[in-house]
Amino acid sequence: MNQPASAYFMEERHDPNETHTLSVLVANEPGVLARVIGLFSGRGYNIESLTVSETESLKHVSRITIVTTGTPMVIQQIKHQLDRMIPVYQVVDMTLTGRSIERELGMVKVKGAGDQRIEAMRLAEVFRARVVDATNESFVFEITGSTSKINQFIDLMRPLGLVEVSRTGVAAIGRGPDGM
């Protein structure tokens, strides 16, 4: 085994990456989001998507939904590292429960005329996207769904005059009667 001269063992493992969606319940206090983001940047974890909002204002609880990728060992680390933060109540791996709904909202601006405009409208209907703003030469569509559905819609809009996109990131919740 040859590695460059170093005080560290430098061979990395190459287990395949997985994508997981984590729901994290936190105390809504100053700096809590910075802590969570700092954990990811400090330890070199990936953030594919992150959303946060207060969900129980009386108890000052916020819910952070994080989509991340990593090897199974790294995903486990991420969950443990999150869980041991003082303001974190609970971490649930929505991907492992296999019973979660994941939704994202995107707003997609398309500019065009004539056939392109008609085609954009037609596709929007197929995707159940709503028009939330319109001018003579443009639309803003609002679309909700899974990340891949929104990706697909954006790809279809590209040749039809896509101008810009704004997305919320993924929010997730478990199916059935019980909460986290």
């Binding site: 085994m1 430098m10 105390a27 590292q81």
Partner: protein, 592 residues
């Protein structure tokens, strides 16, 4: 309306609350350095006598002193520093304490609330800067939150996996008057729930593995020390009851006595041959309060390939971080060792492992710590051995700096009890040992406190000699002076073609004169024959001492697991000739 309030003894300023909270948490000593943003607190300190303040010469010194204090007592170390540079100077000790799980409570002053974010004089984003190097931190904006936050800070620092916390208090909050309350249960974050008790089913599984083991080994770390004296006691009993061999990390030395018959010595990069071979060849590994760090495992894909691994740790994030384990048990080390013992005694018998001990005996016979005697120059290993002999029968505490001397101290000084060994393990902070010794001496006024130092490291926090003299703390700084950053030089010899780039310390100070300049005592040993007499002198003097022990300049630290190698590929001193070393360091350039 303020009429009744003015008679309420719990009405006080933020500054007074801080001192009051310290007293309520049984704090007898704090380490600190004043400045504009903490003057109200210093004013309160001046007017009371419950809490003694130790004035350091640099905030980093306060942090390491508090670490030494904490590690030698099991109580939290407390630091008080000003805003801006005072806080940034604390970053190194906070990180050090986080890596080694040392409970610290650091109170920092902050500019007044209305100036935060204004680039005010001596403002810095203390909670932002210290977020990644604390277990938790708080900025207190309202004096009525201060008591709760202070109590919570002590709780978080000392429970679960211990660690450093920072409470940042703006100056206006220190001046403001509010309501104080003594510590109470509801002061704690509802989301913080450290686990103490281990899962019973997992403990049964562990006992079943242990009872069937043919080649077991116990590998312990700093977690056993942190768990308290009871954990070390139970560990000794567990070793007795099972008959298992035991090794430990650098941080865990002293939990099991070095004179114990099952002791294999320290493991890891500079651990003994028998400890590392036992780790490699074992069939059951019981890891308690250690974290499979990269100095321990060597190459992870060849780490102890044939063993079932039981891992006891209070921090779930330590489990399966580097090495996949078979039976994880989350909880407090002492608590779980107690449960293991209980179940083992009830359900298992001491397994017959004579052949395993026979094999270990063969590894021991390689004598991996051997070194060639020398009558002309003091060898560093010899110096530590003589120091160990000289301190026998004394109530001794050892701290170290970082480098070769640290490894030789770990190899050659025998620790019989926990809390006697303070070293910077995770962060490897040069400059740790001298201020840490100060902190230890503050907690143990009549004990013999020795910093085993390197000539380069000790210059990083040398200014604290002035603190030692002021507070009459008779610490002994035993410098293994090889005129080199020895550990850097060793790596340059082994890995960088002997190009000794900036690892030689030119213009070395005259340590004896330096000691005298501080008002301390300077001693020197140049030859092996000088050593014992000078050591006696050092122990006898009731003042701080700088001991300049001139040792062989080019001695290297062995045995050693070269990087990228497995435990069974150790380089032993007898074999560490140029060719073998070159071969062992595949990828390294030609050697001396």
């Amino acid at each position: 309306m303020s009429d009744d309030k003015s008679h309420d003894p719990n009405q006080m300023t933020g500054a007074a609350m801080i001192v009051r909270a310290l007293a309520d948490h049984g704090v007898k000593h704090i380490f600190g350095y004043p400045g504009g943003a903490v003057l109200p607190i210093y004013d309160e300190i001046f007017q009371q006598s419950e809490v003694e303040h130790i004035l350091v010469r640099h905030e980093q010194g306060a942090g390491h002193a508090a670490e030494g204090y904490a590690r030698s007592t099991g109580k939290p170390g407390v630091v008080l520093v000003t805003s801006g540079p005072g806080a940034t100077n604390m970053v190194t000790p906070l990180t050090d304490a986080l890596m080694d799980s040392i409970p610290l409570v650091c109170i920092t002053g902050q500019v007044p609330t209305h100036l935060i974010g204004n680039d005010a004089f001596q403002e810095c984003d203390t909670v932002g800067i210290t977020r990644p190097c604390t277990k938790h931190n708080w900025l207190v904006r309202d004096v009525n939150d201060l008591a709760k936050v202070l109590h919570e800070a002590f709780y978080v620092a000392t429970t679960g996996r211990p660690g450093p916390v920072v409470v940042d208090v703006p100056k206006d909050v220190q001046f403001a008057t509010g309501t104080y309350h003594p510590p109470r249960k509801t002061d704690v974050h509802v989301s913080y729930k450290p686990r103490v008790k281990g899962d019973a089913a997992q403990i049964r599984k562990a006992v079943a593995l242990m009872a069937a083991a043919k080649r077991p080994v116990i590998y312990t770390g700093g977690g056993v020390i942190n768990s308290g004296n009871e954990a070390s006691k139970l560990l000794r009993e567990l070793v007795e009851v099972t008959g298992f061999p035991i090794t430990s990390t650098l941080m865990g030395l002293g939990a099991y006595p070095a004179s114990g018959k099952n002791w294999l010595g320290m493991l890891g990069m500079h651990g003994t041959y028998e400890a590392n071979m036992a780790m490699h060849d074992c069939d059951v590994m019981l890891c308690i309060g250690a974290r499979f760090d990269d100095r321990i495992t060597g190459r992870t894909d060849a780490f102890s390939p044939g063993s079932k691994k039981i891992h006891i740790d209070i921090d779930p994030s330590s489990i399966n971080k580097n090495i996949r384990v078979d039976v994880p048990i989350i909880g407090d080390a002492g608590n779980i060792i107690g449960d293991l013992l209980h179940v083992f005694k009830a359900e298992a018998k001491k397994p017959k492992i004579d052949p395993w001990w026979f094999e270990i005996g063969r590894w021991r016979a390689r004598n991996s710590l051997a070194y060639k005697k020398n009558n002309d120059v003091i060898l560093p290993q010899f110096a530590i051995q003589r120091l160990f002999e000289a301190t026998r029968g004394h109530d001794t505490y050892i701290t170290t700096e970082v480098g070769q001397h640290q490894m030789w101290a770990a190899q050659f000084f025998g620790f019989e009890e926990p809390h006697r060994w303070m070293t910077s393990g995770g962060l490897g902070t040069m400059g740790y040992g001298l201020p840490a010794a100060l902190g230890v001496q503050v907690a143990h006024r009549d004990s013999l406190v020795i910093d085993i130092a390197g000539d380069a490291s000790v210059q990083m926090t040398m200014q604290e000699m002035s603190c030692a003299v002021q507070h009459e703390l008779p610490i002994k700084i035993f410098i293994l002076n090889n005129q080199y950053m020895g550990m850097v030089r060793q790596w340059q010899q082994l890995l960088h073609g002997n190009r000794l780039s900036h690892s030689y310390t030119e213009a070395m100070p005259d340590f004896v004169k330096l000691a005298e300049a501080y008002g301390a005592v300077g001693l020197q040993a140049l030859k092996p024959d000088d050593l014992d007499g000078a050591l006696q002198e050092m122990i006898k003097v009731k003042k701080p001492v700088l001991f300049d022990c001139r040792v062989a300049a080019l001695e290297n630290c062995f045995p050693m697991i070269p990087s990228g190698k497995a435990h069974n590929e150790m380089l032993l001193p007898a074999e560490a000739n140029d060719d073998a070393t070159a071969a062992a360091f595949a990828g390294g350039k030609a050697l001396v």
